[in-house]
């Protein structure tokens, strides 16, 4: 979760909270955790999916540069987050087979659509409660089924 504040005189908002589940530095699996299997429900044909997490331990690094490059400026504050993300609709269906050496190595069938989220968190002396799901919006969203790595023979 990325929380910002628009301070007086600023043209752009300043990030004041960066909640992610990894200890610094995130050089392995990137900000990725395992969840129970029932955390995800998906109906690809309808373009719908739900992702839920409850009391997921996180660290608040304050901002992304600290989360990626410094790790202790300020020192991360432990907390937990619960969230529900809902994907819906079908804006576009795409089949991708990407063999690009940088960006690729996978194939899949994807639906580009929209997503919304509601979440709560507790971090140090702060609690966070988002507005209801319906008030949020997505800049980009997609769901799909893909195969990569050893499940994606490129030969």
């Amino acid at each position: 979760m990325d929380v910002y504040q628009l301070r007086a005189g600023d043209q752009t908002p300043t990030q004041i909270h960066d909640l992610n589940p990894s200890q610094f530095p995130p050089l392995g699996l990137f900000w990725t955790i395992q969840l129970p299997d029932d955390s995800v429900e998906i109906q690809l044909g309808k373009g719908s999916a739900t992702l839920q997490g409850s009391d997921v331990p996180i660290l608040d690094y304050g901002n992304i540069p600290n989360a990626l490059f410094t790790g202790d400026q300020p020192p991360p504050v432990p907390g937990s987050v619960s969230f529900r993300v809902v994907w819906s609709g079908v804006s576009q269906r795409v089949n991708i087979r990407n063999t690009d050496p940088t960006y690729g190595g996978f194939a899949g069938e994807f639906i580009r659509n929209t997503a919304q989220m509601e979440w709560t968190a507790t971090v140090g002396n702060y609690t966070f409660v988002s507005d209801p799901l319906a008030t949020s919006s997505s800049a980009f969203a997609e769901i799909g089924h893909e195969r990569n790595g050893s499940f994606f023979p490129q030969g």
């Binding site: 979760m1 990325d2 929380v3 990030q15 004041i16 992610n20 200890q23 530095p25 050089l27 392995g28 699996l29 990137f30 990725t32 955790i33 395992q34 969840l35 129970p36 955390s39 995800v40 690809l44 999916a49 992702l51 997490g53 331990p57 996180i58 992304i64 989360a67 990626l68 490059f69 410094t70 969230f83 993300v85 991708i96 990407n98 940088t102 960006y103 690729g104 190595g105 996978f106 994807f110 997503a115 919304q116 989220m117 509601e118 702060y126 609690t127 966070f128 988002s130 507005d131 949020s136 997505s138 800049a139 980009f140 969203a141 997609e142 799909g144 893909e146 990569n148 790595g149 499940f151």
Partner: protein, 153 residues
């Protein structure tokens, strides 16, 4: 994770960004090439199986990170930002050797922050929070096939 924030920060700090690397002395290739690297921060597996936990060193069947990463961060971090900082058709997930369902979204909205000590509340925006899931079968660091569900938060 707001990917656009990364791009903006990188643009504003090109020299600093190039000079500052985490975990001095640990190269991406060297780190990812080891079992420890593959498992590092690898989800709350093992004793915390199916219980969310802070990502940390995990059991041998941990999923393996994708081999590359966004060029914006010199490939050091094993993720891409499709349609944000990378091409729209870039790899959307963080785990390799996966055959399964995936989802990705950059979501914005409003949140109320409450200081539990003072009672002060602030209305704040959350901007382009990056949320992803991966669910299916994967070949873990142990070389075997497993079933699992993962999220990037």
């Amino acid at each position: 994770m707001s990917l656009r924030a990364i791009a903006a920060w990188k643009a504003a700090n090109r020299e600093v960004g190039a000079a500052r690397q985490p975990a001095q002395g640990i190269t991406r290739r060297r780190f990812a090439g080891t079992a420890a690297g593959a498992a590092f921060l690898g989800g709350a597996l093992g004793s915390g199986l199916l219980k969310p936990g802070l990502a940390q060193a995990s059991e041998s069947f941990a999923p393996v990170p994708i081999p590359g990463g966004t060029p914006l961060l010199n490939g050091m971090y094993h993720f891409f930002g499709p349609a944000a900082i990378d091409p729209i058709d870039a790899e959307p997930i963080t785990i390799t050797n996966l055959n399964g369902f995936v989802g990705l979204a950059y979501i914005s909205g409003m949140v109320t922050q409450t200081n539990t000590q003072t009672g002060e509340t602030l209305r704040l925006p959350f901007i382009n929070s990056d949320m992803r899931f991966m669910q299916g079968v994967f070949r873990g660091a142990d070389g075997r096939i497993h079933q699992g569900t993962f999220a990037l938060v």
